[in-house]
Assembly symmetry: D2
Homo-oligomer: 348 residues x 4
């Protein structure tokens, strides 16, 4: 059995990790932590876990706990706000435990980009880390000490555009990503803006031209294409709990046909279990992947404008967070990537 701990277990991603790990046949959860709720059973905060995980939350900062976590665990998942995972990463650096951070601290090759967008100093610049988007960085993930698990919007957006970037089919100056997320993406912290009556029967954008997932998408697509990509990314809030749909636009280069686009997707994802290709003219829906680790992708070529429009849908808490983290763990542990993630989406 693989022994895992979850640091910062009381956010939605932490709770989702526990849901998915319960169904993982090779995993045992050893420690779960929370600073604000240490001493309470997790099921007091999340009644849906009652009888399944009644385990007590501990403080990672209490005397000896971090060392105990490091010693007892093969993998540590971190569900802390950005800026805090580096503390854990450094504390566990010299222990054999491997780390999967669900936040942004270890996602950037160039930490100055992190510092610019996240407005905090990066204090672990030489960390031995890889970017954890399994379909694209599988080989690096295998032996990584620290995995910077890809973000939710970014996973949907990168997977949508990766084949086009890699095969250089698009004019990279024309990329526009219009993304929409359920409210769980904003976390569990109560605030007026996310109070039920404020959002119900409403729709709006936020973070236009400033959202922190922008440079993460740019990094991965630049990496694939060899270009230095700068793009627009616009997030929106959908009055629903879960799910992300990303609508991605780019001009095809001259002479690129719809068939070449089809081939790029088939080539890149034909053998990927978690990427469900709906083909040209396909329409992903967040409900089709809800609760699962799938990413659905469909694409459209507009002969009038010579633009390609790619649609991708994921569950933000699964493929966009906890599921992807487990997929990365499976790879890193040498297991079949699907172990514990062979889940049918919940419909309706």
């Amino acid at each position: 059995m693989i022994k895992v701990s979850v640091i910062g277990a009381t956010g939605y991603a932490g709770a989702e990790l526990l849901r998915l790990l319960h169904g993982h046949p090779e995993v045992e959860v050893v420690h779960i932590t929370s600073e604000s709720s240490a001493g309470k059973p997790i099921s007091e905060l999340y009644p849906h876990l009652k009888g399944i995980y009644d385990q007590e939350l501990i403080s990672m900062r209490a005397e000896g706990n971090m060392e105990m976590i490091g010693r007892d665990s093969d993998f540590v998942f971190i569900g802390l706000p950005h800026g805090h995972a580096m503390e854990v990463g450094k504390a566990l650096e010299n222990m054999p435990v491997r780390i999967i951070d669900l936040g942004a601290d270890y996602r950037f090759d160039d930490t100055s980009i992190y510092e610019e967008w996240y407005k905090v100093p990066h204090t672990h610049k030489d960390a031995p880390r890889v970017y954890g988007l399994a379909e694209l960085y599988r080989d690096q993930v295998k032996d990584a000490k620290i995995i910077g698990n890809a973000g939710c919007y970014t996973t949907a957006s990168i997977l949508a555009l990766a084949p086009l970037a890699k095969h250089r089919l698009i004019d990279v100056n024309t990329i526009v990503i219009d993304a929409k997320s359920g409210v769980s993406g904003a976390g569990r912290g109560a605030k007026t803006a996310n109070h039920f009556p404020e959002l119900y029967d409403s729709f709006k954008a936020y973070g236009v031209a400033t959202h922190r997932h922008t440079p993460e998408i740019e990094q991965a697509l630049s990496d694939l294409s060899g270009d230095d990509i700068v793009l627009n990314f616009t997030p929106h809030l959908v009055p629903m709990s879960r799910g992300i749909l990303s609508t991605c636009y780019a001009k095809l280069k001259d002479g690129i046909s719809a068939e070449l686009v089809d081939a790029a997707f088939a080539n890149m994802y034909g053998k990927e279990y978690f990427v469900r290709l709906l083909g040209r003219n396909g329409y992903p829906a967040t409900k089709n992947v809800r609760g699962s680790n799938f990413c659905e992708i469909g694409w459209h070529v507009d002969p009038r404008t010579h633009r390609v429009i790619v649609l991708s849908a994921i569950d933000n808490l699964v493929k966009g967070a906890a599921g992807q983290a487990i997929q990365n763990m499976n790879i890193a542990a040498g297991l079949d990537e699907r172990t514990g993630l062979d889940i049918v989406p919940m419909y309706p």
Copy 2:
């Protein structure tokens, strides 16, 4: 491996059966049927199943198919509208296959009650059948040929009131059940009443004093208490997809204390895995059990009116349909009841 077929697989309960059976380690799905969509892969109707169940639907009425289903299957689940399961039950009566009907045809001991409420003749009155509410009829389910799987509202309502009825703590003439269901309970057939904009941001009752789950609840509670119970049952439509909450009222008999009520619940459900007791003053929520086979129960005793108010929550498609059917199958097949049903609810 247990071989199962699903007759009438294209309703929500049928699709949910496929979702849950996929996670069942001892089951193989052999045939799935639909009269209106025969010849199509089920994933064309339910895109969330793409890549998981792309199996073709067959017609149960096509030459030789019913016999083939009977021959190839250890268990047949029936997801047909009421009145149609009897046809299947009779056709398979003399084959070794066992039958679990998710509809109402085999739920009543007294078929005249069925005929009165369902307005169709019962054509299989001597069917060797048992009522399939596992927590109450486990012993009968073990060896049953035909299991009339309990309904959704009825499961929530009966489990809520069973300890009080069995221990004779309440005045059975005072029972009022006010139940609320998500819209998936109404099936997948499109009609104006269930068109999205008609129900969103709205709440209403339906079927007051006439809903067909009434006599089913009365049958089970009468059976437990020895009285001839007549009660009020009122269903309501909640603008959400899944979940039932049942709010049940009854006057406690003179001298019955809150502690006796507590003891009745503990006594009846203390060892039941799928019944989650939240205790006196507990508040079940449908979200806490969503996607799982759990039934959450909390109860309240009002000293001012000497009424007990019991609250119960289930997922109507799981404990109220497909999950309970699999639980019954597990019992009938001699498996651990939880096999394939050890699912963490999906939250949020």
Copy 3:
């Protein structure tokens, strides 16, 4: 023009008052107050009011403000939490201004009941007040100094049962009220329990046997029937923004026919503009009255149990708060009751 002020204008009921008053041809809003947001324009807190009410909020506690409000206003609406309206009531007691409190402070004849359920001392016991449920207390409202505007659940529940109580058709010991409300009823204050993802696709009860609207319903029904009524009232939270549906149960007295029930409703509400009788077997829906001051009522008589089941629907922020307050103001000001309230519900 009638001059009105709104004290505590930043809750949902305050904002709804401003929406409705804008459409009132005889009203001018002079002052609006908030302690936490004094100095800000109300449209900064409620962007939907931008360009309509950009008026600045003032503090009622700032030197001279309360006196100014009293002097400048014909009517003052109070939208403060319970316990705080008494302060205003006393401060304005000797000025000619009339007061309509949307909270509970002035709803009870017997202030000891208020103190018992609300857990605060009543400091204005001799206030010249009337209970503001217009259809039942119209004559008293006409000349009242202080009107204790009826609560949301209570308005729906009392209007549903009033004809039966008044005509003494029911056994008053058998009353059960099962009520359901949209989340705006819980106010605008952010807390985890009402965070969007926590409530979406979920349903639950709260305040069983302890909700503060219970004694208010009992007071009005006792008043009508002459009996000392004690009943059960159970509120539930519906994942929607607005609307209350109340499902009310009682045993009919021996010999009371469905026709007598019909007559009681016709007799009491036949001429009431804001009470929409849907008749026997009618089904109110909250969407049918959304945004309007209507109360829809339908009733059902169950011959099996001899119970009557009455359903009523209102918009909790209109007939359950701001609309009713304006209706009371109209009566008190000698205007046609419908002035400014002749609003078509918003559907869908």
Copy 4:
């Protein structure tokens, strides 16, 4: 009083017209029609109208009815599916009545574009018509015989981009419009795709590169800019009832500053009552305009990509249909444009 009739009154736009016309002080509704429900009172189909509009629907095709409608009405609103308004337009061509069509039949200057996208022949090519987007075509609307009321997505999208097109600030080859609508935009006809449980907690796109509002947006923006604009328009379905948010992208021409963008919006809409400018970096939300005729607009300039991103929000049934139709009627009748439309949005 202006006498109006509504042809095709049973769709959502028809019902919304009746809601808004009820609050219009200068209007009397004389006839309402429906072919499928002729003979029924409209309140039977729309219970929220009970007691307000209990008027009987008539058939426009019954002997003499069309002539009667034409004779009795100053204005006729048409709420028929595309292809059917032309029949009405021709029948009433020589009567003094004026026509406002809420569908697409009279929206295009070049009827060949209509025929290409709508796949029906245009049978009234020489109709004396104007495009009914009041803020842009006010002068033409004044004396028009037939007004082709602008569509819902198009109103939001055109108003968002009009200042940029008119002042030629953007590269018109780079326009991408990503729009999102509540489900009422799809009409009231029941179908599985819009069945409540199918859409709840889900999000998806549809009609990519093929939606019929595309050429309508292109026509208006080309008209304003003098260029021949071809653009991408992508609609999405939001799990809510009402509201459209349009997110519009374009590259600013070299040297165009954010201040010039600000000035373009101020210049064009500074005096428009129904256009609410939220300014640079503003965030419209559909809830802020729900139930009202407002269009909220905010814009953002991204220095990294030199793109402008414009956000606009409307209520699809008001500014996107019935409200705009009444605004057009007011203009055509010489009334203050706001008459009957001075409505505070319903929040929350």
